[in-house]
């Protein structure tokens, strides 16, 4: 039995289009893995297969040795697999603080409670405060999310998922749309994460990838082209031609 997430023979077809081809890999606890590849390579689809948004055509996904294949999306989150959305998906009418409060309450299994106040637990409120500080969102805390700039919304997106304290954290292009002056907040947030956490980061910004990842997987046309250390990936000619040399789509 391996600890962490293990994927075996995972495939996904959309009609005739094969978007994941027999993917086998493991994301052990403590790993900092980056998933890169051109647009349309199937990175988001792979993330959605892990979180249960999509059902695979075939293959198995094990978390700490146990299959999560039959679990619904929310059960997988409760088991510890969480992801951010590539296209920001937030509660637009709620304030930033309320947005962050929701995943925290959910993590504490409290969203079925009627006879108490949603901000009634000081420890949880302090946790929100800390997350807001970490991502420099404190001045915006009581503004509705719909009024925020897109880059700020990206940070809230990250905050929601961090608030879940997952065991496996999947970040789908967290820095896309974040001004370069603020992308260090994302790097710092990732560096602050508990060491035993498994992080899978999908990202086009190679500088950010090199800063946080100690392993890089290159996905092309739904198949793994290369899986190795950052040095191996940079020095690989095929990758340079296919991806790094070309326009970052």
């Amino acid at each position: 039995m391996t600890s962490g997430l293990a994927v075996h023979g995972l495939s996904k077809n959309f009609g005739g289009l094969q978007v994941a081809r027999n993917l086998t890999l493991s994301l052990p606890n403590g790993a900092r893995t980056a998933l890169i590849g051109p647009n349309g390579a199937g990175k988001t689809t792979f993330a959605n297969l892990l979180t249960g948004v999509l059902k695979p055509t075939s293959g198995t996904i094990l978390l700490n040795g146990k299959s999560v294949g039959k679990m619904s999306e929310s059960e997988r989150v409760r088991a510890g697999i969480a992801k951010t959305f590539q296209i920001t998906n937030l509660f637009r009418d709620l304030t930033v603080r309320e947005n962050i409060r929701l995943p925290i309450l959910e993590r504490e299994r409290r969203t079925n409670k009627v006879f108490c106040h949603s901000d009634g637990i000081p420890e949880l409120e302090c946790e929100i405060f800390q997350l807001l500080e970490d991502l420099a969102l404190t001045p915006l805390a009581d503004k509705p999310v719909r009024g925020l700039a897109y880059g700020q919304q990206r940070l809230v997106e990250l905050a929601l998922t961090l608030a879940l304290k997952p065991k496996v954290l999947i970040l789908d292009e967290p820095a896309a749309g974040v001004p370069s002056t603020e992308s260090h907040l994302i790097v710092q947030a990732i560096k602050r994460l508990p060491a035993d956490l498994s992080v899978l980061i999908i990202e086009h910004d190679m500088q950010l990838v090199f800063e946080v990842a100690n392993r890089i997987i290159v996905l092309v046309n739904g198949a793994i082209l290369l899986d190795g250390t950052p040095q191996e990936v940079i020095s690989n000619r095929e990758v340079r031609e296919l991806y790094l040399g070309a326009d970052h789509g």
Binding site: S72, C116, D119, P122, E125, T161
Partner: protein
């Protein structure tokens, strides 16, 4: 960190007080109405009952964002349950209310398990179909429901054994207002609870709620059952106060009216439900008193104006005016 704890505790103190205010406002308004319109108590009682009904719809539409056109199903079941209980089992009004709540919750649970899996048009249609099934059943099961003639002669014993229901309707009015206040306080508590926040999250983005681990379907069923119980209470009250239940309680137009009242007032805000009901019922009373079809002109134009000019309902009018005034000078 102390700063955080301070902020948190101030927030909490304000939050605790929140449910008291609306209850106070409703009591004062009801007292004034009671004194000013002593001969219209029957009509005022109808408004109060409708407010309870619309509040229950606000929980599912305004908070959880579930649009149905079949909310009369729960109201009707509550009305029949209360009527039958008082005719055959016990005449105590509170037992009747309890029966109404249970019936409303039960039908909400059974139908909710089916219809909350659907969305959009399919959801609207299933909710309509469920109400139609109930209406036809009520009209066919003559032995139980009296068929198209309905249940008549429903009487209830004195409230709490002390207050006899009088002809003018004073007890009925006070009784209904008390229930409204209780429901309103409950809704305020719910709105500020973790569950209430989760409902607003579902309204905002169900896919995001799933991604943070919420069993969205289960939460929807829960709120549907709660709203069903409250709608059942409203139906039970109506049965007790008028002494009648007919198959019209399942009319499509009742479900549509409830939606209209809520949107006119402003969905997702409890005051909106109250204001919308009041305005709708009063305008209806006046316009329909002149000519029933006149009323359709009035409500038709009112709806178009609301949808085009005030999409967040009458309750947002003050905000909108303030915003307009600020922009002018």
């Amino acid at each position: 960190m102390t700063n955080a704890t301070d902020q948190v505790s101030i927030r909490r103190k304000m939050g605790r007080l929140a449910p008291v205010l609306p209850a106070l406002i409703v009591s004062v308004a009801a007292a004034i109405a009671f004194i000013l319109f002593p001969y219209d108590l029957a009509f005022l009682t109808r408004i109060v009952i409708m407010m309870i009904f619309v509040l229950s719809f606000d929980l599912i539409l305004g908070y959880a964002g579930i649009a149905t056109l079949g909310h009369a199903a729960m109201y009707g079941c509550g009305a029949y349950a209360a009527g039958l209980v008082s005719l055959h089992l016990a005449s105590d009004p509170l037992i009747g209310l309890l029966a109404g709540a249970v019936a409303g919750a039960l039908i909400a649970w059974i139908s909710g398990c089916v219809l909350l899996r659907a969305q959009g048009v399919a959801l609207l249609m299933i909710s309509i179909a469920v109400t139609m099934v109930l209406q036809e059943t009520a009209s066919q099961a003559r032995w139980l429901t009296g068929g198209a003639d309905g249940l008549a002669g429903i009487t209830v014993s004195p409230l709490l054994g002390m207050f006899e229901f009088d002809f003018v309707g004073q007890v009925a009015f006070v009784y209904s207002v008390c229930i409204l206040i209780a429901v309103l306080i409950f809704c305020c508590i719910l709105a500020s609870s973790p569950f209430g926040l989760a409902l607003r999250g579902i309204e905002g983005s169900a896919s995001r709620m799933r991604a943070i681990g919420t069993p969205v379907y289960r939460r929807k069923v829960t709120v549907y059952v709660i709203a069903g119980a409250i709608a059942g209470i409203a139906g039970a009250l109506a049965a007790q106060v008028t002494g009648l239940v007919g198959i019209e309680v399942f009319n499509f137009s009742l479900s549509a009216d409830v939606m209209v009242m809520l949107i006119v007032g402003g969905a997702g805000r409890l005051y909106g439900a109250l204001v919308g009901t009041l305005v709708f019922m009063v305008v209806h009373h006046i316009a329909a008193g002149i000519d029933p079809f006149n009323w359709l002109f009035v409500i038709g134009f009112m709806l178009l104006i609301i949808v085009f000019a005030l999409p967040k309902g009458l309750i947002s009018l003050p905000d909108r005016l303030v915003a307009l005034l600020r922009r002018k000078p």
